[in-house]
């Protein structure tokens, strides 16, 4: 059961999104504080005994609870403060858009007026290859056949929580291949998790205490807010990057953010990077990686490098992994941790396969124990060992994927250019970072969200607004193009054009 918050209330709230959510939150907080202080255990009258006859009530139906959150919390059984904030209706356009798109999904044949999903970075370009592999190989690859006998024992029983050695080996090989063979990954330094999402959270639990913080360059993947903050109590401090230098990270900005935060009494425990970057799609240069490592050493903090898009390169630039830089220079490896997963490069987000790769034995030891809360399912492990070990298939997949990504990217970006929408320079990822600031009525977050709303409800396309990614400049949108087929591109462009045509007229006439 999900409650969709009416867009009107979100977008047109007085004072904007921030005040619209901050004030009620603050009021709610104070209310809870008041209740906490003044609540005394009141012995209730005898609870109804099971044998007392009571009026026949209907089978319990689920009620719409969100509107009753205030009244229900008084005298009703309480949930934790952590939960209360998570239970609130999600006001972020990132999630609202995803919901809307999934409720009315576009289909060229069966639902041509549906919402086109450009807000979920999913890669559908190479499914045909995976399906072909499955149909040729799947029979024995899950349940396994030892001596021709079906053997479920191998996958049914308790496995090592941090993943089987077979899968770690296969993963290490795959990661190395993806990164052009420039790095060798040690299976013993790997911890496998049910997706990159728990990999990030687990690392946060290991590297920071409640109330500590990580520096994160903006714009960043909206999911980090959840992954890092939900349950750990760790904060994210944005380090703003700007379009003037194509959203490149600067050490000066890192340093400023570090000092500011420290002045306020919050301890910074590390930097959280995504490389290739999401949502911009640019790469960190070798020199930049050195500079970041120097900075981390100087401040004695950790570096988490989320390299989940490393295998989704379409540009000509070379991807350099943190691991590669560490290999070559004498940096202190104990502070570096890499996150990876199969959701993007291999298009298998449903299978839940993520990796923590660390050089720090203590972190590995703790992370290993924490994987009991988020392990990879055994039949999936076995399937992937088979798939990742198929060198011929992997070779073909990586090559074809790159080619198709390049193609889609080129077509999409050219298409946007035709509408006078330029994109940031990017070399990787499943999306482009589009500058629609000329199309917004006021150069502000409010203006941006109005455009987002129009694109979603009038144009019926779901894109991710820059504000959801904490971008400091309004008007940027992340558009994922890998869920599309070539034929869909003109449809998307037409819809954008239609959604903004009145705006541009307005802009032209003023």
């Amino acid at each position: 059961m999900r409650l969709i918050v009416p867009l009107q209330g979100v977008v047109q709230g007085r004072g904007g999104l921030i005040f619209g959510s901050l004030i009620p939150c603050a009021l709610f907080y104070f209310l809870q504080l008041y209740l906490k202080r003044h609540r005394s255990p009141k012995p209730q009258s005898n609870p109804p005994s099971p044998t007392t006859s009571s009026p026949k009530l209907a089978e319990m139906t689920r009620t719409s609870s969100r509107s009753n959150l205030f009244s229900r919390s008084i005298g009703q059984v309480r949930i934790s403060s952590r939960a209360i904030s998570i239970a609130k209706p999600n006001e972020s356009p990132y999630y609202i858009g995803l919901d809307k798109a999934s409720e009315d999904p576009y289909d060229r044949l069966s639902n041509p007026d549906g919402v086109i999903q450009l807000g979920l970075s999913e890669n559908r370009l190479c499914f045909d290859l995976i399906e072909k592999w499955m149909s040729e190989n799947l029979g024995h690859s899950i349940t396994g056949r030892d001596n021709g006998e079906l053997n479920i024992n191998g996958i049914a029983t308790y496995q090592p929580f941090d993943g089987t050695m077979e899968l770690k080996l296969a993963m290490a090989g795959f990661m190395s291949h993806i990164m052009g063979g420039a790095v060798t990954f040690e299976p013993s330094q790997m911890v496998l998790t049910a997706g990159a999402t728990p990999a990030i959270e687990t690392l946060c639990f290991c590297l920071a205490d409640q109330g500590n913080a990580f520096l994160v360059p903006t714009p960043y993947y909206p999911g980090f807010d959840r992954d890092v903050k939900f349950r750990t109590g760790v904060e994210l401090i944005p380090v703003h990057c700007r379009s003037t230098d194509n959203f490149a990270l600067s050490i000066t900005a890192l340093d400023q953010a570090f000092n500011q935060t420290r002045k306020h009494g919050t301890k910074i425990r590390g930097i959280l990077l995504s490389n290739p970057a999401n949502p911009v799609g640019n790469l960190l240069s070798r020199e930049m990686l050195y500079a970041i490592l120097d900075f981390a050493r100087e401040k004695n903090i950790h570096v988490i490098s989320d390299e989940i898009f490393a295998g989704s390169m379409y540009g000509n630039e070379e991807f350099v992994s943190m691991a590669e830089v560490l290999d070559s220079e004498g940096f202190d490896k104990n502070r570096v941790h890499i996150v990876y997963g199969l959701s993007k490069d291999l298009s298998l987000p449903g299978f839940r396969v993520g990796v923590i790769y660390s050089f720090n034995e203590n972190v590995l030891a703790a992370a290993r124990k924490l994987t009991r809360f988020s392990s990879v399912s055994a039949p999936t492990q076995r399937l992937l060992v088979s798939m990742l070990s198929d060198a011929r298939f992997i070779e073909e997949y990586i090559k074809t994927n790159k080619r198709r990504l390049q193609n889609m990217h080129a077509l999409f970006v050219a298409g946007l250019k035709g509408l006078n929408i330029r994109c940031a320079d990017s070399s990787a990822g499943l999306y482009c970072w589009a500058d629609m600031s000329k199309l917004i009525s006021s150069y502000s977050e409010k203006g941006e969200l109005e455009l987002w709303d129009k694109l979603l409800n009038v144009g019926k396309i779901n894109v991710t607004p820059g504000s959801a990614c904490h971008c400091i400049e309004p008007g940027w949108f992340r558009c994922c193009f890998t869920t599309l087929a070539e034929e869909d591109i003109p449809v998307v462009l037409e819809r954008i054009r239609k959604a903004v045509e009145n705006t541009t007229d307005l802009l032209n006439s003023s």
């Binding site: 089978e59 399906e131 349950r231 502070r335 298009s347 990879v376 039949p379 999936t380």
Partner: protein, 443 residues
């Protein structure tokens, strides 16, 4: 794992990372190490340590294998375009509807239809371990407390406390009434928490109980629920062994209690379930939270992003558990075989002069070795445990690791091995008891 002395410039780890709350230094896990280093094997290592500390169900694998053999298409994740693509992309935290439906049906079947489950109240997690932790995050804040009856599953110390910062306050139970939970014990635990300035947020019971191997009686369940209502706190019922009751009529689920009360006060009740024990598939990582509280369902769903079940696995199991014929047969046969194993071990222990708590469920029995202790203390129990581990070469779980207030009780698992291995284990126990008789006679 030794904690190195940190050099001033060496980069720091969190309190969670260096905490010992994972509990892996306790005897419960030390025994496993001994087993790992010298595991018994019927053919290759007959003098090795027999693992009786792991509650795993291996008695019904053949039924699973037969199903998979006959339904090849199930494990191929929708061979042929339409099914597979959607499945591989499916990462919705609502979970596959067909799988939730199948789980709801399975849970109803286990309870003989005496309770109904709404698939939309099912939240999926990668194992019951994650389910229990998730519920704790949702129901309690750091520093709050949950009441848990002793003896309890050693893993709770880690699952409920480690990352959540929540404390466990024990509800002491003892052998005078077969370790049943009493209203007095509940109240005493609550008072104890209050005296330590801890806010109690809920009670967590395991029914059927681990390590006792017995079901909780209907009247006791009512008492517990009444207590929860009276104190306005939550009640979590971990029913992971519900399908491993030897006789279906003896298990009463909290769901039935609620149904009998027309679901009054249901919004404080949450059930945890998993396929790790009943279906013997711990490797698949399949757990569920069933909550009657809308906010808990919503929040749990969102939090489950950190612990989703592989869509491939969901699909496979949706097919398997929707097959009514298979599930009926499996549940029935599994019960019979577990019952048979239980009888076998109880008889064997009895012959060796060892008494056990009367059990009717689970993959283990609760064995009373208190007459053998040198001293009726935890120390005495650990000394005995050491002898059994290192001389008799059996890894069993000492009651102290389950926080049992009476020393001398041990949990012995019987379903994670072949019948032959169980016979060997019983022979070893017999021999051990004989030797002790001889020793004591000679003194």
């Amino acid at each position: 794992m030794a904690i190195e002395i940190e050099k001033p410039s060496s980069v720091r780890l969190s309190k969670v990372a260096i905490s010992k709350t994972h509990g892996e230094d306790s005897p419960y896990f030390a025994g496993w190490k001994a087993y790992d280093e010298n595991p018994y094997d019927e053919i290759h290592n007959q003098s090795g340590v027999i693992q009786m500390g792991l509650a795993e169900n291996q008695v019904s694998f053949d039924l699973l294998e037969k199903y998979l053999e006959e339904h090849h298409e199930v494990s191929s994740s929708g061979k042929g375009a339409p099914g597979f693509r959607e499945n591989a992309l499916f990462q919705d935290y609502h979970g596959l509807k067909s799988f939730r439906q199948a789980m709801a049906n399975f849970m109803e079947q286990i309870r003989g239809g005496k309770a109904k489950f709404d698939p939309d109240r099912i939240v999926l997690t990668a194992g019951a371990t994650a389910a229990n932790e998730l519920l704790t995050f949702i129901l309690a804040d750091p520093g709050d407390a949950l009441l848990v009856p002793t003896p309890y599953y050693p893993g709770f110390d880690r699952d409920l406390r480690w990352r959540t910062g929540v404390k466990i306050v024990p509800i002491h139970c003892n052998s005078s009434n077969n370790f049943q939970i009493t209203p007095e014990a509940l109240e005493a635990a609550y008072q104890s928490a209050e005296s330590m300035d801890l806010k109690v947020r809920g009670i967590l019971i395991t029914n059927p109980s681990n390590p006792l191997g017995s079901t909780i009686q209907s009247s006791v369940l009512n008492d517990i629920l009444d207590f929860a209502v009276h104190k306005n706190i939550h009640l979590v019922s971990d029913e992971i062994y519900s399908g491993s009751t030897f006789s279906p009529s003896e298990f009463v689920s909290i769901a039935e209690i609620l149904r009998n009360r027309n679901y009054k006060d249901a919004e404080r009740v949450h059930i945890v379930y998993s396929l790790s024990k009943d279906l013997g598939l711990p490797g698949f990582r399949v757990g569920t939270i069933y909550s009657y509280n809308d906010d808990v369902v919503t929040t749990a769903r969102r939090m489950s992003s950190f612990t989703l079940i592989s869509s491939q696995t969901q699909h496979l199991l949706a097919c398997m558990l929707s097959n009514h014929e298979f599930t009926q047969n499996y549940i029935k046969t599994n019960r019979e075989r577990l019952n048979k194993r239980y009888d076998m071990i109880i008889q064997g222990l009895k012959k060796a002069g060892i008494e056990c708590l009367k059990g009717n469920a689970g993959l283990f029995c609760w064995m009373n070795l208190s007459p053998l202790l040198n001293e009726p203390t935890r120390q005495g129990e650990l000394e005995l445990w050491n002898i059994i581990l290192n001389q008799v070469k059996l890894n069993i779980s000492p009651g102290s690791s389950c926080h049992c207030s009476e020393p001398g009780w041990f949990r012995v698992c019987f379903a994670n091995m072949s019948e032959q291995t169980l016979r060997v284990a019983l022979q070893r126990i017999h021999k051990f008891m004989e030797q002790r008789k001889v020793c004591s006679v000679n003194q």
